[in-house]
Amino acid sequence: MARIKSRDASALSELYDHYNRLLFGLILSILKKRVEAEDILQEVFTNIWEKAEQFDLERGTVYTWIVSLTRNKSIDRLRSKVYKEQKKQSTSLNDDDVFMPLYSEDSDPLENTILKDRAKRVHQALANISESQRMVLQVAYFNGMTQSEISEEFDIPLGTVKTRMRDGMMKLREILSKDLEL
């Protein structure tokens, strides 16, 4: 990140090579459309280049900053009026264009060894929380649904959704804190 701050374009290229597939998969899971996802992916890395100065290592890792940036941009696009209208038309006109991946349950979803190990640990952590907690976290995270939308979609009281989400995250923190040095 220090190299990117010093305007080293090759450092950004390396960062892109390291994370582009993971982040593109994340964006795709939220937006469901490749063209939109590629647009957001480019926007994310452009933001990293332009706002590298804002990154503060004391407030989190580079990975956390990049993923948060990626999710925020994806969710913003998902909830924009223009995107909702485009999605409605696209879905009705051409269903082949609609990409609907959910998060991967495969044991080998990633090529990167380090990320692969981390995925395995997160899988195990999720396996250790309740099914109801896991479900709200998954649809919120990978489908970009709000607590209200989850409540409405799955006919669960809003308060229950909030409680399950908080308890699920607290449990994950408890399980993963050792690995993440929290």
């Binding site: 993971l22 593109f24 480019q42 890395f45 995270y141 909030k162």
Partner: protein, 261 residues
């Protein structure tokens, strides 16, 4: 207190998962501004946990065009326009100064060359004049020499007249066969602009004009070639008088030199 803690934790987890409504999001941001260190730590930890879930995303490969566009954008952003403009202006200014200096230098160099060419031209002209004068002199000497080379010549010595040119000296080398003569004079006064010396051949008491000449340097010997001096007379005399410019049919002026054959 516990309710507040639960509310913060619920909003925090919803916030890091982008699952809050807009009102709730504003509420949480407001709480975050007055959050305790413990709450801020909790917030950072929740962000880390949420981002960790991303590793479960399917690995999907975007089009290579994405990276190409990204790197193009980055390359373009690395060229700060103002600096480039500044560089251009500096370059232009430097080029202008160099151009002006070179122009001034070339101007003076050109002037210097022109002066040198003019100076050399003057020298060449002077030398050309000298050459022409020397060539004329040589030609004249050669003509005089042809008279001296004649095998049969009469030599007539003229003396200066006591009242006009007591130290005057004259000599006529006459090639009667060729009808030409060489006149040598010295120590006679320079002639005024409106006058000439005139050489007379006097035979049987009658003066015959043999030509006019002028002397501008009395101190040195002056030589003249006399054309068309033909006579078979065995006796006679030569005399030099000063006459009006161009000469006269008969002598009218003072006599300066006289000598008998």
């Amino acid at each position: 207190m516990n309710t507040n803690k639960n509310t913060f934790e619920e909003l925090c987890t919803g916030f890091v998962l982008n699952a809050l409504s807009e009102d709730e999001e504003r509420q949480f941001r407001s709480m975050l501004e007055q959050a305790s260190d413990e709450q801020l730590t909790f917030f950072e930890e929740m962000k880390a946990i949420a981002s960790e879930i991303a590793v479960l995303s399917s690995s999907e490969t975007p089009s290579p065009a994405v990276k190409e566009r990204l790197m193009d954008t980055v390359a373009a952003s690395k060229k700060p326009a103002p600096t480039r403009q500044m560089t251009w202006y500096r370059f232009a200014a430097a080029a202008s100064v160099i151009f002006i200096l070179m122009s001034i230098g070339l101007f003076f160099y050109s002037q210097n060359l022109t002066d040198q060419v003019e100076s050399q031209s003057e020298v060449i002209a002077d030398q050309q004049t000298t050459i022409e004068r020397l060539e004329s002199e040589v030609e004249r000497k050669e003509e005089l020499l042809t008279i001296l080379e004649a095998r049969d010549v009469d030599l007539v010595i003229m003396d200066g007249m006591a009242d006009m040119s007591p130290n005057g000296y004259g000599k006529v080398v006459w090639d009667k066969v060729g009808g030409r003569a060489l006149l040598q004079v010295a120590n006679i006064p320079s002639v005024p602009i409106d006058k000439d010396y005139q050489l007379w051949f006097i035979v049987n008491g009658q003066p015959i004009s043999a030509g006019v000449f002028a002397v501008d340097d009395p101190a040195k010997d002056n030589f003249f070639k006399i054309e068309q001096l033909q006579s078979s007379a065995a006796e006679g005399a030569f005399a030099i008088t000063m006459e009006p410019k161009g000469g006269m049919p008969q002598p009218t002026g003072d006599m300066y030199l006289l000598g008998n054959m």
